[in-house]
């Protein structure tokens, strides 16, 4: 990242272009993970000049998930209600997510999008300490393709 810039996870109940994207929650901590399932595609006649047989592989499937922490609601009361529905709804509902570079005061200026997509929150934990606003942590399972940002 450029100096002073960080990555942040944004979630929304609607999709949209980067300019129109209205997010209702963002997380400060994230681990984004993509993994490919590999299958041995070697045949009995694959070998190098020295006679060694080397395994060859094919990608047969892709999976992804995002571990998030420090997720808080932002926006209006109506947005907070939507946010509540999302985080309460460890369900089959689709959540729209985006990972973007942020900067500026309190890192609330959203810059370029790294990637975005759809997902489902498979677990969510609220942490509400005395004198502090609640934050949420959990797992968002990526549902379908990951779109790379081009803004």
């Amino acid at each position: 990242m450029e100096k002073g810039q960080h990555l942040r996870l944004l979630i929304s109940d609607t999709t949209g272009s980067s300019a129109a994207y209205k997010f209702i929650g963002f997380a400060t901590d994230l681990t984004f993970h993509l993994s490919a399932t590999m299958e041995d595609s070697s045949t009995k006649d694959s070998s190098d000049a020295d006679g060694n047989v080397w395994q060859e592989n094919e990608i047969t499937a892709r999976t992804g998930d995002i571990q998030f922490g420090g997720l808080v609601a932002v926006g209006t009361d109506a947005d907070a209600k939507k946010f509540k529905d999302i985080v309460d709804g460890v369900s089959d509902d689709i959540v729209y997510w985006k990972i973007a570079a942020v900067s500026g005061a309190n890192n609330r200026v959203i810059g370029k999008t790294i990637c975005s997509g759809e997902g489902k929150i498979s677990n969510c934990q609220a942490d509400a300490q005395a004198g502090q606003r609640a934050t949420y942590s959990g797992t968002l399972n990526i549902y379908g393709p990951v779109t790379v940002g081009n803004d």
Partner: protein, 147 residues
């Protein structure tokens, strides 16, 4: 008597002809797929294994990956298709070598440790915590020989 030079201190993973930048850790693993060759008349009951094939993998952990770099590897992950046998896509040319200087970004490198091959990017992990720079980890699985 002078000590022999300890190799591997500037070990790095390269993609094509360019180093994978900002690496903090590099790992390359070569392993053999073994098959038991024990028969009923093998003495003493000890197994006798033979190597039927080999495979290799590489892992790089980097800090401060740029937006461009992150997009590049996610795009690669999305677009790489099946292996050589069906689609013609072999993978990304990567290798590992050792720099001759003290800086891992030196263009010149030692040929004491130098290998290369084609690999598929099979795992991306991006960690970005509050008040820290993001850390990117890439895992490659070798697709065919390591030369």
């Amino acid at each position: 008597m002078a000590l022999k030079k300890l190799l591997g201190s500037n070990f790095r993973v390269v993609e094509g002809s360019a180093v994978i930048a900002q690496a903090t850790a590099c790992q390359v693993t070569v392993s053999g797929n073994m098959e038991s060759a024990r028969t009923k008349d093998t003495p003493n009951g000890y197994d006798q294994e033979q190597m039927v094939s080999k495979q290799w993998s590489a892992q790089v952990t980097t800090i401060d990956a740029s937006v461009t770099t992150l997009r590049k590897y996610i795009t690669l992950f999305n677009t790489q298709n099946s292996g050589q046998s069906s689609s013609g896509y072999a993978g990304l040319a990567i290798g590992f070598d050792e720099t001759s200087g003290t800086n891992n970004s030196d263009l010149e490198h030692s040929t004491d440790i130098e290998h290369s091959g084609v690999a598929l990017l099979n795992d991306i992990s991006l960690q970005a915590n509050n008040r820290t720079t993001c850390q990117l980890q890439l895992q490659f699985t070798g697709n065919g020989p390591l030369a």
